[in-house]
């Protein structure tokens, strides 16, 4: 119970920091927009082609955006010398990770939901009829990105060339998330939309595996 209370306080702090400046959210939204527009030049976005490539490029742009967006997560603490204070403030370091990864999931989900209508218009895809199901896929996928992403942000913050290191560490690891989310999104955007429970279950499994890993090894990730 104390874990949840600590996490709520820390989550409040993360959200306050971000919504004061909204730097992360605005830059990520613009980044996704740029990628989505640039992608349309690489193939002819007719209806059939969009159905085939759309979900993949949507998730690819989310993944790239996330690997940049997760960067400041621990770097901010390190630059301001607040990491030790943060560690001392709570008994269980897992609550720090829970707060940070919840905040990251929320930010990712927010930018994704904002970009979804733009994507639907540019690629002529029927998003509205399956919107609630799509949000479920987006949520599980974003969680899958944010969980290892938050952990690796703590790792890359300690390295040189950290801006390049985080995508290098994170993107190959996210292969399963990319496949599962793309398949689930693709099935929803077909002519006969279908909610692929098997892929959703797979995403949930991925989330559980890495959440458990953070629970086990989180304290080591925060060493300075």
């Amino acid at each position: 119970m104390a874990l949840i209370a600590d996490m709520a306080v820390l989550l409040g702090k993360e959200l306050r920091t971000e919504f004061r400046s909204r730097e992360l959210l605005t830059t990520t939204v613009v980044f996704i927009l740029v990628v989505v527009v640039l992608f349309s030049f690489t193939f002819d976005p007719s209806i059939g082609e969009s159905r085939r490539f759309g979900p993949g490029l949507l998730w690819l742009s989310f993944l790239f955006a996330a690997s940049l967006m997760l960067q400041p997560c621990f770097l901010r603490e390190q630059n301001n010398d607040t990491l030790s204070a943060l560690r001392l403030s709570v008994p269980d370091p897992f609550s720090i990770f829970l707060a940070k990864l919840s905040a990251n999931t929320l930010f990712l989900l927010l930018t994704e939901v904002l970009m979804l209508p733009v994507f639907a218009v540019l690629y002529n895809l029927p998003v509205l009829p399956v919107f609630p199901q799509l949000v479920l896929v987006l949520f599980l996928g974003s969680l899958g990105v944010a969980i290892p992403g938050t952990a690796f942000s703590a790792i890359s913050a300690q390295a040189r060339m950290r801006e390049l290191m985080l995508p290098l560490l994170l993107l190959p690891l996210l292969t399963p998330v990319l496949i599962a989310s793309t398949e689930a999104t693709g099935a929803l955007l077909e002519a006969n939309p279908e909610l692929r429970r098997d892929w959703l279950g797979f995403l949930a499994g991925f989330d559980v595996v890495f959440l458990t890993a953070i629970w086990l090894f989180g304290e080591y990730l925060l060493e300075e």
Binding site: A159, T175, F217
Partner: protein
């Protein structure tokens, strides 16, 4: 020194003679022809690579819990040697696939897993080169190694559900599978030889890492004085 040269010479002779067996003793496969000979090297290297990555995972876990520098040395050695073996697998694979499947590469479960595995351990080694301080480098790369290894079954199953083309296992693959006896002898010998090579490379790399750490310690001591 002479001992290690002797070991290397014995291993070289073993690999050369098993290569001879694979080419001249084992019969030529009925449908694939001569190109199937690459199988002996391909599978044995794949096996060595997976053993090396498994060793790396063990060393990573051990480091996190014990913090012995020895485990860190084993981790980096295993990752490097594994990467060398997996490079051989990724090169011999397409050479075999092109005449047999008609394509160089396909995004099938085992092929993709091998590729992603290579990428993950490449990132592991890159990460190590980007962290200066030895304790920090050992801890953070070990943690990344653990996360990367946990990803392996997830990558495998996600791609397996997605699509798969790689042949079903011939060895230990259930009824109807199995190798011709002379092929089996050649294969087992090659497998043994390359496992020997794995052990030799791993121990040489481990000694090198231990020496490096020793030099690093001496340098620091000299700086303090």
């Amino acid at each position: 020194m002479t001992k290690s040269i002797l070991r290397a010479a014995v291993l070289f002779a073993l690999i050369a003679s098993t290569a001879y067996l694979a080419f001249y003793y084992a019969p030529i496969e009925k449908t694939m022809g001569v190109v199937q000979k690459i199988f002996y090297l391909h599978i044995s290297c794949a096996f060595s690579a997976f053993v090396a990555f498994g060793t790396c995972f063990y060393a990573n876990l051990r480091y996190v819990f014990t913090r012995e520098p020895k485990s860190d040395w084993l981790g980096v050695s295993a990752a490097e040697v594994g990467l060398a073996f997996i490079t051989v697998v990724l090169i011999t694979g397409p050479i075999w696939a092109h005449p047999v499947w008609g394509i160089w590469w396909t995004w099938d479960a085992r092929l993709t897993l091998t590729f992603v595995l290579g990428l993950l351990y490449l990132s592991y080694l890159l990460l190590r080169s980007m962290i200066e301080e030895p304790d920090k480098r050992a801890m953070f790369s070990a943690l990344f190694g653990i996360f990367a290894f946990l990803d392996v079954p997830l990558v495998y199953f996600s791609i397996r559900w997605w699509r798969t083309q790689h042949p079903q296992p011939v060895i230990l693959g259930g009824p109807g599978s199995g190798l011709e006896p002379r092929m089996r002898v050649s294969y087992l010998l090659m497998w043994g030889a390359l496992t020997g090579l794995l052990i030799l490379l791993l121990s040489a790399r481990y000694r090198l890492e231990a020496l490096r750490a020793g030099v690093e310690d001496l340098r620091r001591e000299a700086e303090v004085r």
